[in-house]
Symmetry: C2
Subunit: 216 residues, 2 copies
DNA sequence: TGCGAAAAACTAGACGGTCCAGTACTAGAG
DNA sequence: CTCTAGTACTGGACCGTCTAGTTTTTCGCA
């Protein structure tokens, strides 16, 4: 197929595909840093080591490039977290699992790239409402839906006590995520807590959650 | 043309001050709708019924106008909520008061104007980090700080049980605010819940909070 | 398999058209 | 005389197109 000098397990690709990728990366950088209006196509071309003509060969317009980037980033974002809930036996195992899940979710979401993406998408809600809706659905909504299903199973086994699984999932999700996300959204990427701080935060959130929804 | 009928207790102002106000209002509208880069000074001048020269007589630059507007809006925003905690006697009175406070906070914050302001400020975090910091401090941080103080007093009277008042305040704040805010941030202003929905949401949040922090 | 030409992709830069922040200038109202 | 409306203007940014010439890939055919 392609030339087989593949380095470090990276699938080798033709020149065109390589340029395509370079453009995507440069554009991601530019849009995340400068916003939709603030980014300019000349800079993207220069940054990706490609002529402007080539940029327009791969993407029909600035708008199309923007949509492509945001959707691909939101697509990748949520996939890393969803893990099947293992058999938890007993209250203490449940607590440990919830803390672990919360911490995993936090460390995935609380990265500069995803915070910048979130700022970018929020900024463009009036211009690109669909992008924001997709981010919401593939982000918090998906997390909460899966949590709700898991909580329902746990309730059936009397490990949790709840009447509204989705409300419980929302409470769990935001007990854990809201404080650091909203801090970082306004205070910038350097306000992202350290992994240890996130772990402590997760533990406190789970303690509150279990006080409200845990088996007595 | 300029009639001097001061209506509804509005402080009497000269023509210059009136133009000043008109410019501020038009600029607020423009910036909230189109963002910093998307707004343009010609539109602001036209919208406020003033010549462009006059706009620049009152505000030295687009940037200065933007900063002025955002700071004035963030200043007004938080002031409406802070109410002295009355004497609450007993657990049920506390619950009712917390629900009421939560609902008040929600109805103040969950308005299109403030959601738009929040989107605008978040969008401009890289360009105007100070504005975002001020919004954070005068918004969530102030609310949580005041809550923490109130919670500490309640803990001294054994109506709450907590070791870290600020953590408890954060949990309360985000149990109540996070879900609707983050929904509206991404799904747009029409995703702002109705007052009745907000009331129910507040009640559920307070129930969880009291399960974790309420007196046994 | 290897060669060579057509096809496709790419570069560098210029350019048209549009938009916009901020300034300058004139005419007229108070 | 002072302030302002109205408007034209400056200087520059930027999207998307175009041109002319170069490089890479593809593929028929030896």
């Amino acid at each position: 197929m392609e030339t087989d000098d593949n380095q470090a397990g990276e699938a080798e690709t033709g020149r065109s595909a390589r340029k395509h990728k370079a453009i995507l990366e440069a554009a991601t950088e530019a849009f995340l840093r400068n916003g939709y209006l603030g980014a300019n196509m000349d800079e993207i071309a220069t940054l990706s080591g490609v002529s402007k003509q080539t940029v327009y060969k791969h993407f029909s317009s600035k708008e199309a490039l923007f949509v492509e980037i945001v959707t691909s980033m939101t697509g990748r974002a949520g996939d890393a977290v969803h893990a099947e809930m293992p058999h938890v036996e007993g209250v203490e195992a449940l607590r440990r699992y919830l803390v672990d899940y919360a911490w995993r979710q936090l460390t995935v979401v609380m990265t500069p790239r995803l915070m910048q993406l979130r700022r970018l998408v929020i900024a463009e809600v009036p211009r690109f409402p669909d992008l924001a809706r997709v981010l919401y659905e593939r982000g918090p909504l998906r997390a909460m839906t899966m949590l709700a299903a898991a909580f329902e199973r746990l309730a059936a086994r009397d490990l949790l006590v709840l009447d509204d699984p989705m409300a419980a999932a929302s409470h769990f999700n935001w007990l854990v995520m809201a404080e650091p996300i909203n801090r970082a959204m306004l205070l910038g990427d350097e306000a992202i807590p350290s992994p240890e701080a996130l772990r402590q935060h997760a533990e406190r959130g789970v303690r509150v959650f279990l006080a409200a929804y845990g088996a007595p």
